[in-house]
Symmetry: C2
Subunit: 223 residues, 2 copies
Amino acid sequence: MSRYPITASNRVRRMPKRGHYDRDTVHAIIDEAMVCHVAFAPGGVPTVIPTLHARLGDALLLHGSRASRLMKHLGEGHPVSVAITLVDGIVLARSVFHSSMNYRSVVIHGRATPIEDDAGKLTALEAFAEQVARGRWADARKPTRKELKATSVVSIPIESAAAKVRSGPPMDDDEDYDLPIWAGVLPLTLRAGTPIPDPRLGRGLTTPAYVRRYKRRVRADAS
Amino acid sequence: MSRYPITASNRVRRMPKRGHYDRDTVHAIIDEAMVCHVAFAPGGVPTVIPTLHARLGDALLLHGSRASRLMKHLGEGHPVSVAITLVDGIVLARSVFHSSMNYRSVVIHGRATPIEDDAGKLTALEAFAEQVARGRWADARKPTRKELKATSVVSIPIESAAAKVRSGPPMDDDEDYDLPIWAGVLPLTLRAGTPIPDPRLGRGLTTPAYVRRYKRRVRADAS
């Protein structure tokens, strides 16, 4: 099993037994998530922003408008932190104190490098499209050179990453197990509903299978 | 409609028409979310961590172990940023460039104040329990004085908050509407599954209605 090195910046301090540093666990969480949260600190003042992400091998990709404050800041190589979180369930312990969530999360620390060439950007944009809806890239109208120019892409190495995972039933204090209180886990899942065709959809266009049968899942080729 | 003041620190710069500053919109997003992402920057280096939150009026509450690095840092009054994000759907435009997500997010900037007294902490812990599963506080074993002592709670004013919302169909370039590409929105919702009783559940304890009929929703008393 291939692992990321455990250092001062990625070691899980709170609840260390929930920490995971192997690539498979980290990559699977990144690949399943729909959104990430990016923290940056211009002038030392922290800001956090939700955005889409994609993964190419051992790199996390972020993109945005060339004019965006986040993209400019990241492109300059300042330190950045990214969190990716999947909520799996509510853990209802008998005591409020031991009540918790089941979740899988990854936190990455690093510095970004801009991807400037058109070929690299195009590969990245394919990864973003496929991260959101696998199969979409083949169907959609690809970016023009002008659109590529208007888009900034940065790459952050996933070297300093740690996953934190809680799963399973509540863990109550021994003396609380006899209390007449229901305890257990309520699973939560991000589910797709019925696709809503664009009101301006052309006649005769049917909903593609990757939309009709949409599921979030670990990529089959995750590596 | 009551609004938060628009200042340099909360003004939505990218896509300003997606910005919302009214209390109702901001509070509804905070109340529906299961988790928030907290950014802090000890020594100017940003870190982001997922955690639970609760709201009491115009204050966002965070809690954690007294030993946690985050809680110590926040309790000292350093600047903090919190993002709360709800993913509502995948926006499949004809072009990759205009493909997007439907989402509702809130970003808050501020400084935290610790809540130190037992009564204030207890009220906060009730808000956390109810944020996760409405109705749970009445059933669960309440925190002891020792548990209260082991828990840190901080309060962040929601003054400098902005919501950002995208909803509705894709917006393609005029010349792309004739392309033979399916376009539309795939709705996404966080759904509860079947409750899993604790393997050590006492005999005769039935699953409470607030677990069986669980739904994420805006609080009826949101204000």
